[in-house]
């Protein structure tokens, strides 16, 4: 059993990176996630595990550094907050197009523009439906506790390498800044170059040896016929993720007459709201998508046959609600409640919204 600690979400991301055998971190400071790189620089993992940590000149540079390192088979990551992720959009599209595995952490803040440094979930669409150009998907994990900040670093890498696709941890200032107890993972040693060669030697750019044919990491294909085939292959990969990798949590759903759907920090608040509502006699449950892509469509569709209505609670103007509506179909009402601009809703507000929008106040 791992080490038990009281730590901030952001610090845990850094610690988990070192412990999971990450080869490199490239980043640029931005609130509310600067502690990730600060923790790494303080820990000096280059002395301990050989992990490289580099403060880049911008998020644009960070994400393209990931591209280079990932293309050579290394386990590398970056982190940022919303405005920085927008700058990375170019690189993320290239990473997806060149099918490179890596981990990107977005500790969201409120937008649009420079917005606010307070927490938000307004990058749901950006993370799950694109953000950069072209038809691509990221594997998106939404932690709702500091423990999951720890667990999802290695999980994100595993999925990224399994599918040769970038993975994202989509969290926000609440979880990033929150202190909680956490069981840290045990150390996994970094892969040696020979091990990397053995696992990924069929595609990485590690230098053309033993008269093997050259490896080229690229997203370019000017022949439309072949580019269409590339795209079809990507879509098949995303479909496979939807089949095999969906993660979600159901809380008090067995007897539920109403359902709240929320992810990340909103789900933490809604967990409390469920207790408050149940104390008032309202039979409500919570479904928490853990993977935002692939999205838990089937469990939502199944619950749509059981409950009288769903309330989607998110710290944005109503983004995930569209996915829930699609999954639930038209037989029951699916409503949205949220706060904007960095305001975090209270459990009381959520119960009130449930009563007004679904039960009939």
């Amino acid at each position: 059993m791992g080490e038990l600690k009281l730590m901030k979400g952001n610090e845990v991301i850094a610690e988990a990176a070192i412990r999971c055998g990450c080869d490199g971190y490239f980043g640029y400071p931005i609130t509310p996630q600067s502690e990730i790189m600060e923790t790494l620089m303080e820990r000096e993992p280059w002395n301990e595990t050989g992990m490289v940590v580099l403060q880049a000149e911008s998020e644009v540079a960070s994400v393209h550094m990931l591209y280079g390192a990932a293309g050579s088979g290394k386990k590398v990551m970056t982190s940022s907050s919303s405005p920085g992720i927008s700058l990375m959009a170019e690189g993320i599209s290239y990473l997806a197009g060149a099918e490179l595995p890596c981990l990107i952490v977005n500790v969201q803040r409120g937008g649009p523009g420079l917005g606010t440094i307070q927490p938000s979930q307004a990058d749901y669409w950006q993370s799950t439906k694109g953000g950069g150009h072209g038809d691509y998907r990221l594997i998106v994990l939404a932690p709702s506790s500091v423990q999951e900040m720890n667990d999802f670093v290695e999980l994100g890498f595993q999925l990224a390498f399994k599918y040769r696709n970038p993975a994202m941890i989509l969290t926000d200032g609440v979880i990033g800044q929150m202190m909680e107890k956490v069981v840290l993972s045990d150390y996994i040693p970094r892969l040696k170059d020979e091990e990397i060669e053995e696992k990924y030697g069929s595609w990485i750019t590690s230098g053309r040896k033993n008269s093997r044919s050259r490896h080229v990491i690229t997203s370019l294909e000017l022949d439309s016929g072949r580019m269409e085939l590339n795209n079809i292959r990507f879509q098949e990969k995303y479909a496979k993720m939807e089949e095999d990798e969906v993660l979600y949590e159901e809380i008090q759903c067995e007897d539920a007459e109403y359902l709240i759907v929320a992810f990340g920090s909103s789900a933490r608040i809604c967990q409390k709201a469920v207790d408050v509502a149940r104390a008032k006699g309202i039979k409500v449950g919570l479904l928490r998508p853990i993977t935002l892509f692939p999205f838990p469509k089937e469990p939502i569709a199944a619950l749509a046959k059981q409950v009288k209505g769903m309330l989607v609670v998110e710290m944005n103007a109503g983004q995930m609600v569209e996915d829930v509506q699609l999954a639930a179909g038209c037989s029951i009402p699916v409503k949205y409640y949220g706060r904007l601009g960095g305001i975090v809703p209270s459990p009381g507000e959520v119960v009130e919204a449930l009563e007004q929008k679904l039960i009939g106040g």
């Binding site: 911008s58 750019t205 590690s206 230098g207 050259r214 080229v216 370019l220």
Partner: protein, 266 residues
Amino acid sequence: MELAEIISPNNLIYKKPKLLTDKTMHYCPGCGHGVVHKLLAEVIEDLGIEDKTIGISPVGCAVFAYNYIDIDWQEAAHGRAPAVATGIARTNPDKIVFTYQGDGDLASIGTAEIMHACNRGENIVVIFVNNAIYGMTGGQMAPTTLLGQVTSTTPTGRDASLNGYPLKITELIAQLPGTSYVTRQSVHTPAAIRKCRKAISKAFQAALDKKGTAFVEVVSTCNMNWKLDPVEANIWMESNMFPFYPPGDLKDGSKNDPASYSPLKN
């Protein structure tokens, strides 16, 4: 004499570098990219480093460089090659990494990435082909386009008050403490090609010796977009580009000693 006798091995004084593939190059006749590719292939072969060299191709006419030199390559987004190279070099310190970039790629959209990679003294080689125009997109103004030069976006000639001044990026790069060797070359005559080959070889040796960033600018022609024939283009380059971008070494040594950089006093 029969042809077979003439090309007998003992009569051979020149051959295609082993690392140059048989793929027909897409470059226009008269373009410098092909010559620079050949020099790269020769140097990498001479140094025997093909098993640990990774090239980063740009967005620009040389985007398909990976089809011509038989080593591992990564194709970068427009201007980002120095960041891609940094990612590889930092996590693979035993590899030799070089970028190959045009003037739009390096001195316009990728200015931040090249300046900071050179300023950090990344242990990489940069090959910078400056043809004073955007070749791939059909001849628009580049950051290095000369004043008065006609391009498709400066149809009456580049005007400083409208378009700003041509950027001497290599002079800026030479000021950066992280660079070890900064030179400007050309490939328009056999003599120039030989000198350029030496410079490229020296730059790769600097990377092998972990001296910091080695930067080779190759002033080149784009006769197609300059709307000249190849010979006229070489003459135009000599009479117009060389006075502004004079060939020669700008810096030759190794990256600066941090102690000379005014560290904090206790």
